[in-house]
Symmetry: C2
Subunit: 310 residues, 2 copies
Amino acid sequence: MNLLAIDLGGSHATCALLRDGAVRSSVRLDAAGFTGLRPLLPALRRTLEEIVATSGLALRDLQGIGFAFPGLVDSERHCVLSTNEKFRDAPSVDLRAWASEQLGVTLRLENDARAALLGERHAGAARGSDDVVMMTLGTGIGGSAMIGGALLRGRHHQAGVLGGHLPVRLAGRRCTCGNLGCAEAEASTWALPLQCADWPGFSESALADLAGPLNYAAVFAAAESGDRVATEVRDRSLAVWAAAAVGLVHAYDPDTLVLGGGVMGSAPAVLPYIERYVGRHAWTPWGRVRVRASELGDNAALVGLSILFQ
Amino acid sequence: MNLLAIDLGGSHATCALLRDGAVRSSVRLDAAGFTGLRPLLPALRRTLEEIVATSGLALRDLQGIGFAFPGLVDSERHCVLSTNEKFRDAPSVDLRAWASEQLGVTLRLENDARAALLGERHAGAARGSDDVVMMTLGTGIGGSAMIGGALLRGRHHQAGVLGGHLPVRLAGRRCTCGNLGCAEAEASTWALPLQCADWPGFSESALADLAGPLNYAAVFAAAESGDRVATEVRDRSLAVWAAAAVGLVHAYDPDTLVLGGGVMGSAPAVLPYIERYVGRHAWTPWGRVRVRASELGDNAALVGLSILFQ
């Protein structure tokens, strides 16, 4: 089965061709300059058409297109319900009509962290488990939960996917979702510049003079070099993620917690801390939660989208 | 249908006779002096036998006994899995055998907050809703969640019921569950003396010279009288409960949030604050969560237990 897939993130969009559930080819677009989804659609279409042509296929060879979106989606009606920062026009975009008219294929939409969980469970770090929580650390913090083999969806399609919006700090930073002290507002790539700007002594830190962007890879590298502020910001962020991880374990009762997202490019700086904290502080009298790094990485949501067509 | 029911709390146990899902008579026992469940069983049996006799019934007229327990329970095998403070011997007590041998009836066990949710949904504040979160503010903080008409249970029977153990304060107070900064450890009746002892200026507060026990009724009363420490402790506790409420809404996507437990004896001091905070800060693009005080109060779990026999 040949499928198209799009994984839209806060700063990039990955377009892919899947065959029998595996990524056959993919192209990563920079989406940082786009504030809306509608302006991005022509570039997505061109990229998909090129991928199909390069693969020696035609659009009529495709069984559909899966779309992973970083926000609240109705995966029955295949529309975006709400988004807290980027792509604010998405709820008004008819993605099904776009896919049908522009590409001639049926579109299925899912939240990006739910799609990533499906991928990891099908072919990655959560193989063999029916009770999984996925936590993606990146531009924001995504979440998703599977209980007894079924994705948790909830009354308004938002159960499980607000894992980054469980508050972990009383009277904390205002989040783009409207809440205070969300894990995402306390430690994510979008919050990092705010976090650093507030940090005592930041102007003397190596982080204040970076040639490249201020992201967690830079923070972990500067902390390794002994930079005080970077070390403190790193430790604070780890504490936020670890507290959030225990919150998700307590909320959804999984046996497996998968950590993904761009920040996990620095997995050795993140995974052991969260694993140890969850082992020490989660109330799991039945045993220990398996804490695993994503195995599929950037491909997790793409692979997961293929499950929607099974 | 005649049923017996026991609702065990941190400081008391209520024994009741139910007829057709309504509480016909009940007796509240002081359980504060009991650290174990086993030593409490003879008093529970005597009380139940008296209730039955006083009602003109015999044990053979009863269809069963429901038991609501404040901890993790396996409601398929009807045994206690874990408890974080009181009744530490409960996992080793065979309650089914006790009920069968001592009372000649079949026992069904449920977590107390799950039972309370069932009661409120059947005959109380959550009537008509299939998507409910219950939060009980008392000795500890209980939680339970219903999604699409089904109680959330999870892989190890603990999904939904750790609502009081979502962390809301980074590096906060150590909870009896082993986690740090749980809502329950930051604001519940058991944590209140610890919270007050740490509060600057507590020794000058009216709360330091109470004739009765230090509980939230006393805090609310002293705050009403203008006591500074009581006002600050009250406001901090409200902030904890409100943050936890948003966390539960984000985790489980309900349309109705029911607040119960002993602290809701002071509902006018609690409900409006939480309702306003949830309205302002929960990310619910579909509309507004109904925030309601328990209608069944102390009877919620008792009434809910009758649902287990339907």
